[in-house]
């Protein structure tokens, strides 16, 4: 029996009162539902995490889980979010918190970049999920690391997430850790990656990431690494380990400096070179470890192209004596001079872990390479791809149109042109890197301590 606002009794199942015609509402149920809405929103009241790791697409979502479960010593400083297409047919809506990792499913996924982009852009749940993950207000101490396999339809929409993150916290540093498809993958995978990278690198665009760290799938397979338990890392393990390293070893002050250096040289894309789990007993010293990073870089980059080199180093506290700031910088100086003749700036950050083993994690982020070389294995592959682009393809299938493709192509070419003849380089023609100047430009970081050392001022 339902009572209307005028106290008329009505049989259940009616929507309006049979006497006065007013709507019949189950007040208790309505209030309970509103209270539930509020409770669902409670996570938005969390203290803001320092780093938000967002996995987009199947690759990204899996890596987020792996990072969360494989490296469990996380504090409230870190927040995890996995976003994937709803392949299981679950109706849209966010799933409940799973081991503190938020999950959300895009109702309609897509193999192609344009379709994935629309799906991500139009999903009404994403902003609330981001807020629940702790991205709520202006805070320049926050960083969001977006992980995505950009060869996929959903992953290629990473730049849409960049925009959404900026919308919620304009001061947040946004990094994109992207995995480009391997050489043997199909045209549409490369198109997705090409399109994704064009947005992430586009100049003055809200969708451009502050820094894009690009790996290539077939290259990562060649990288060797050892996990915390001493086991050899798989591809996913390597990526999770790298994500963990970036999360925990990029304090906002250091990150801000890295971005400032890159910006001064017009660099938005870096290639990681990894040495994960290198035992000191085997490698002996830092130089050997640094050498091992560039044996199998995670993407294609020519040593001649490298203009900026950032070292992120994590050592066990027990090895502190061997990795003093000055010593590390000395090794780094020698290494950079030997391998990257055109480097303009070098920074380093050293952090300590409480692990008892003697394994060192090192990651070099090398900037200066072109965007196309981050996707294609050589000039021929790129030429083949561009000739395909010229064809009159059915762009609608990809959720794109000719103009959009043209813009994407222009953005990549613009970035590549800038990397080949950067303005900054023209200005610093006479700026010769020697040991004394490198001393100036190194950023010796120790744990969370931030040095006041500044980057070289480009001579007028």
């Amino acid at each position: 029996m339902l009572i209307c606002p005028n106290n008329h009794e009505n049989l259940g199942g009616l929507s309006h009162c049979r006497v006065c015609g007013l709507p019949l509402l189950d007040l208790e149920a309505e209030f309970a539902s509103l209270a539930k809405n509020m409770v669902n929103r409670a996570e938005m009241g969390h203290r803001a995490p320092r780093v938000l790791l967002v996995g987009l697409g199947t690759v990204g979502a899996n890596l987020t889980h792996l990072c969360k479960t494989g490296y469990p010593n996380h504090s409230s400083e870190y927040s995890f979010l996995a976003i994937d297409a709803d392949e299981a047919g679950i109706s849209n809506g966010q799933k409940d918190v799973l081991h503190s990792t938020l999950e959300t499913f895009i109702p309609t996924g897509g193999t192609f970049c344009g379709i994935g982009e629309v799906a991500i852009r139009s999903d009404a749940h994403l902003i609330p999920v981001f807020r629940r993950a702790g991205l709520n207000h202006k805070d320049d101490n926050q960083a969001a690391i977006l992980i995505a396999g950009i060869g996929g339809g959903i992953g290629s929409a990473a730049s849409v997430l960049v925009e959404k993150v900026r919308q919620l916290n304009p001061l947040c540093h946004v990094l994109a850790l992207v995995v480009a498809p391997g050489e043997d993958e199909s045209f549409h995978n490369h198109l997705n990656a090409y399109y994704a990278l064009s947005h992430l690198l586009r100049r003055d665009s809200p969708r451009a990431a502050d820094l894009t760290i690009a790996l290539r799938y077939d290259r990562i397979k060649t990288v060797k690494g050892v996990g915390t338990g001493g086991q050899e890392l798989t591809v996913n393990g390597l990526l999770a380990s790298l994500s963990d390293l970036l999360m925990k070893n990029l304090p906002s002050q250091y990150l801000a400096e890295v971005l400032r250096v890159n910006q001064s040289l017009g660099i938005k894309l870096v290639i990681p070179c990894l040495a994960l789990g290198r035992s000191l007993e085997i490698f002996g010293n830092l130089t050997n470890i640094l050498e091992s990073t560039i044996v199998f870089p995670a993407n294609r980059i020519s040593n001649q192209c490298v203009r900026v080199c950032h070292l992120i180093l994590r050592t066990p506290s027990s090895q502190i004596a061997s990795f003093r700031e000055e010593a590390v910088n000395e090794h780094l100086w020698v290494f950079v001079k030997q391998h990257f003749p055109n480097v303009k700036a070098v920074t380093s950050y050293i952090s300590r872990s409480d692990e008892r083993h003697d394994r060192i994690e090192a990651c070099l982020l090398l900037g200066g390479g072109s965007a196309s070389s981050a996707i294609f294995s050589d000039g021929n592959s790129l030429a083949r791809f561009r000739s395909e682009l010229e064809k009159d393809l059915s762009w609608q299938t990809y959720g794109l149109n000719k103009d959009v493709v043209k813009l994407a192509n222009e953005a990549i070419m613009q970035y590549d042109d800038a990397m080949e003849t950067p303005e900054s380089e023209k200005k610093v023609k006479r700026f010769k890197l020697d040991k004394s100047s490198l001393n100036q430009i190194r950023l010796p970081y120790k744990s969370t301590e931030v040095s006041n050392a500044s980057f070289p001022q480009v001579p007028a």
Binding site: P5, V19, C20, E30, L34
Partner: protein
């Protein structure tokens, strides 16, 4: 009765009444009695008519008969036909009956005037009581609206880590709930105390949860009448058909809650929640239009359109219109009294 002491006013000999050929008509101050002559034992009273029921007299001079008309309220008028002995006796009776009729009319007029005066006084008092009652319902509604507004504003401030604003809104909730307690004895101190700890410790998650609990507790108090309205205890029957009423308060609270829920959801770009709230806003608005005379005009259509376009600017414009309508109705505080059967059917 004007003449409270029974006395005989006139007497006439009856020559014919119904089937009686000889008897007496005796007019007294309170009755008209008919007696039959009997050979043995004197006159016998056959019947009597209450003079209060006297409605008129008609004289038929040709037949020399007198028709006396009696009327009992709610019944058809009845008459009695008399033929009296001689003109003198007839005139006496007629004159007496006319006097009685005039007296009766004057008395009835006086009684009607008195009744009218009393009714007017009663209606005046009733109107004042209803006005005071409705005013109290309006004031309670306004407080409920303000509590909801501050509750949701506090949640928004917490989400944006604006702790000064959160504390300010929390303080407003306290002030309004204090007013509510004084006015309507609606007590939500428990929920407020829980909220207090969370605000002090700046525990955002807990604040949002407790903000939801507060609305839940408030609704529970209203739905289950966990409040007493001592002032109106004796007038409950009289006030039952006043609109807005106690029973309508929970609908006002529901409208306030769902409106601010929609606004918050839109501000934090939770469009899925915004979409889900609008049907409830529409249902509540129909009820509020009927019970609170709250007219939304085009603001709901504008809200719906803004939601469809996911346009926050348009939605905030529409929300301003809604709040303006609510503000106006709080100023005017209209109310009506109607029995349920008079209520319009949609």
């Amino acid at each position: 009765m004007v003449n409270s002491v029974k006395r005989e006013l006139a007497r006439a000999k009856i020559r014919s009444w119904r089937d009686m050929r000889s008897g007496w008509l005796v007019v007294e101050s309170d009755q008209i009695a008919i007696y039959r002559n009997k050979l043995i034992g004197g006159p016998q009273k056959l019947t009597q008519f209450n003079t209060d029921r006297l409605a008129g007299i008609e004289l038929d001079e040709v037949k020399n008969s007198l028709r006396v008309i009696f009327h009992v309220p709610g019944e058809e008028p009845k008459d009695e036909l008399f033929v009296l002995q001689g003109k003198t006796q007839t005139d006496t009776v007629i004159s007496t009956l006319k006097d009685l009729l005039n007296e009766l009319k004057a008395r009835k007029k006086q009684e009607a005037e008195e009744a009218e005066r009393l009714e007017k006084e009663y209606q005046e008092q009733l109107k004042l009581t209803r006005e005071r009652f409705a005013s109290e319902i309006w004031e309670t509604s306004e407080i409920l609206w303000l509590i909801c507004k501050s509750d949701y504003a506090m949640v928004r401030a917490v989400i944006e880590a604006n702790w000064d604003e959160a504390r300010q809104q929390y303080s407003r909730i306290w002030q309004e709930s204090d007013r509510l307690k004084q006015l309507s004895q609606i007590e939500i101190t428990g929920a407020l105390e829980n909220l207090d700890g969370a605000v002090t410790s700046q525990n955002g998650q807990e604040i949002i949860q407790k903000a939801g609990d507060l609305i839940q507790q408030l609704s529970h108090r209203l739905l289950h009448y966990e409040t007493n309205w001592p002032k109106w205890q004796n007038d409950q029957e009289m006030l039952a058909a006043v609109s807005p009423n106690y029973g309508h308060l929970s609908y006002f609270l529901l409208f306030s809650t769902v409106y601010f829920e929609m606004l918050l959801a839109a501000q934090i770009e939770d469009w899925a929640s915004v979409n889900s709230t609008f049907p409830l806003i529409r249902s509540c608005s129909t009820i509020l239009q009927s019970c609170f005379n709250l007219l939304f005009n085009g603001s709901l259509a504008a809200t719906n359109s803004a939601i469809a376009k996911r346009n926050l600017t348009l939605l905030l414009d529409a929300a301003r219109q809604i709040e303006s309508a609510v503000g106006s109705v709080f100023q005017a505080r209209p109310f009506k009294f109607e029995t349920p059967s008079n209520q319009p059917k949609e």
